[in-house]
Homo-oligomer: 234 residues x 2
Amino acid sequence: MHLFYTPDINSNIYQLSEEESKHCIKVLRLKINDEVNLVDGKGGLYLAKVTNDHPKRTILSIINHQQQFGKRNHYLHIAVAPTKNIERFEWFLEKATEIGVDEITPIICEHSERKEIKIERSNKIITSAVKQSLKAYHPKLNEAITFANFLNIATADAKFIAHCHQNTKQNIESGFAKYQKYLILIGPEGDFSQTEINGALQNGFVPISLGNSRLRTETAALAACFEVNYLNKV
Amino acid sequence: MHLFYTPDINSNIYQLSEEESKHCIKVLRLKINDEVNLVDGKGGLYLAKVTNDHPKRTILSIINHQQQFGKRNHYLHIAVAPTKNIERFEWFLEKATEIGVDEITPIICEHSERKEIKIERSNKIITSAVKQSLKAYHPKLNEAITFANFLNIATADAKFIAHCHQNTKQNIESGFAKYQKYLILIGPEGDFSQTEINGALQNGFVPISLGNSRLRTETAALAACFEVNYLNKV
């Protein structure tokens, strides 16, 4: 069934935007009484039907809905340095959304070549993955922030930093507690600086290894998603 | 240190191809006595130095080498339907190489929209990922084959099929045995047909689920890589 992302839904009647109306009626060729799914990004999954097939102001009527659809049993926040090639970062946004993530913060590090991202464009990629993978929760994408400033505001039950320096590191599963709020730091192509690593350690981040392979930034960030989701499987 | 892929190395002297020579001398600007790494794709990792910096016929001399560098403790064969959008399949090739895979077979299924892939181009992507992630083993990419023909030749210690039909499925970790030869089937965007699933079951494939999320083909294939590698961590 076709799915629309409707974050502003607040009654039993919903009017699609002009763009979505056109998509619904002209592209998908839906007609009166055809059924669609809606997700609000906050856990709500709705079944609705077309009650007015106007190609610019399509009206949907809610038939039923459920809250907390696909609610996750933990909270995963990945703070990752955007890659020099933005496609690699955007790929991470899509895949992390599919696999399962709750919050993403782009962090600007000492060795970052990329200093900014386009939030609106990035959010569109996340929304597209939300729809494709039928998720009722929309991951939160924060504005980019410097690593130093992020350390000052970062909170979680379990905080990890994945870096490539030759220090003692543990696997993430060592002493892992399930159903927590996790925060994982992933550095840029040139890795975190020693100063950044020291700052993270002083703030209670545990250094972890994501295996023996030398992973690209976006692969490491996705590996962290996989591992945390895997370790929280019921 | 810079790394070259030299599958045909067979003595203590190696002459780079004209293209690689140009890259080595004109782009990387390496000079006599500069050191480089070589991998042969069969487990050999070499330390070599430039002994002739000719920009078309660069000569490297091996200083030392080790065999079975980064040898994996299991064998993972992923048979996956190439995606309609070839970039998604190519992305899988890169990421699977980084995470760890031994053999990949493109399978053409009943619901496949894409019927062929360019092996040479795909192999270049794998080679690039091999070099980037410093792997001495080069994953083997087979020619595309129909699903039916593949079933007739497919062998492994543990055979799995990941499909989206609502049959009984187990998680891959249920009764998982480590250090085996694994083969995992991943279907196209339209999933395997019921006939294909029946054929796989008759051939001893175990139906598995890769979690609760609805995953794209290439994400499912990578999820399988992650899980098998994770479950074989020592």
